[in-house]
């Protein structure tokens, strides 16, 4: 029961933290609940499909299918997070002002919530497929104290993981609305950089990119990546105790590219609506 609980907790934790951040980042956006729920549901279906096709994925691309698949979905998530953040840098201030005034932002119809839903789906798919494979194997092997113990362990792990996601969500939404989107856009940026660094590790494993130094530094004595806190930091900011050079390059490049585009696009002439309170509508 306990090993099952720990494995399930570990996998759920990562997806749950991402869902918590996405929910906080989309606070007040109409229909966000449906998008996020849709992302979770899609992720669960995807996890089942990936688990069922795990053998095919593993043997694809001359045995490097796992690496390429993981890298591809990680970079897709990086793109979605970046897209949402860049969009928000242009419209976020206006939306926050509206949200403070009205308690909700009514004009966010075109906001790319689908991008966040895809990120949620990818997070659930990645972690969920490992849970499915793990539990399926245990169930077949009849180990870990039988089906009842396995179910209890799985439920405990799930509850623990969801609790962590809920905690980060509640913590974030306690931030005053006028600061909330600034905080969540930083969190989303770091999340994206961390995923890019993980993606780089898979590309390196598939020998598509050089390592540029196997271990730039080693802070495993301070915070091991295998500890729960280490895992949380790994998810949230992409912490790696012994990063390869290429991971640091991808991490920094993601920060610079997404952050740069946010600045560039966010500081351009604001859209008409943003000026609406002080100017008569010109259109």
């Amino acid at each position: 029961m306990l090993p099952t609980a720990i494995i399930v907790l570990r996998e759920v934790l990562e997806a749950s933290l991402i869902v918590g951040i996405v929910l906080a980042a989309s606070r007040g956006a109409p229909g966000r609940g449906r998008w996020v729920a849709g992302g979770i549901a899609g992720g669960v279906l995807g996890a089942l499909a990936v688990a069922a096709g795990a053998g095919e994925i593993a043997s694809a691309a001359a045995g490097m299918g796992q690496e390429l698949f993981d890298a591809a979905i990680l970079f897709a998530a990086v793109g979605m997070l970046g897209w949402h953040n860049i969009w928000m840098s242009r419209h976020g201030r206006e939306m926050a002002a509206e949200a403070v005034k009205l308690g909700t932002n009514v004009r966010s119809g075109e906001r790319p919530l689908w991008a966040l839903a895809i990120v949620v789906g990818i997070a659930v798919l990645r972690e969920g497929s490992e849970i499915v494979l793990f539990l399926y194997g245990i169930a077949l092997a009849g180990g870990s104290g039988g089906p009842a113990a396995m179910a209890v362990g799985g439920a405990l792990g799930l509850a623990g993981g969801v609790a962590a996601g809920t905690a980060i969500y509640l913590g974030l939404i306690s931030i005053p609305l006028r600061h909330l989107f600034a905080v969540t856009s930083w969190l989303v940026l770091l999340l994206a950089a961390g995923m890019a660094s993980q993606g780089a590790a898979f590309l390196m494993q598939a020998e598509l990119v050089p390592s540029l130094g196997a271990n730039l530094w080693d802070t495993s004595f301070l915070l091991s990546e295998q500890s729960i806190v280490g895992k949380i930091m790994h998810t949230l900011i992409g912490y790696s105790a012994q990063p390869a050079g290429i991971q640091v390059v991808f991490y920094l490049a993601t920060l610079v590219i997404i952050g740069g585009l946010m600045r560039l696009i966010g500081s351009g002439s604001p859209p008409q609506r943003a000026r609406a309170p002080s100017h008569a509508p010109a259109e």
Binding site: I57, A62, E67, F134, A141, A201, A241
Partner: protein, 108 residues
């Protein structure tokens, strides 16, 4: 799924340098939650293909944080993981789904 596999195969065909037949192979067995051998001898300074065979009826994930390798090994399946060229030393690896199952690459 088929498209994805196809795209992956195309990407690999485009960018990957195929492993030379000369890469030495080292086989690691995983059975009863134990790696054999416990100290896996690996030559220093050359690329090596590790072949990990999971002879258990549960899945495993071959992982090494130091070497940045993590790869699922389905029950009864085997995977290839390329490492190196490595400097002499001991490099720990483990089964991420059974954390006490650990062993070392001993690079000489």
């Amino acid at each position: 799924m088929r498209e994805r596999v196809l795209v992956a195969a195309l990407l690999l065909a485009l960018f990957a340098t195929p492993a030379k037949a000369a890469d030495p192979q080292v086989t690691i067995l995983l059975k009863d939650h134990q790696f054999t051998p416990q100290d896996v001898p690996v030559p220093a300074g050359v690329k090596v293909e590790l072949i990990v065979q999971n002879q258990q009826d549960v899945m495993a994930e071959f992982e090494s944080t130091k070497l940045h390798r993590e790869k699922i090994v389905l029950p009864g399946a085997k995977i290839s993981v390329f490492v190196g060229p490595l400097d002499p030393g001991r490099y720990e690896f483990f089964d991420d789904f059974h954390n006490s199952t650990r062993a070392f690459l001993v690079v000489k």
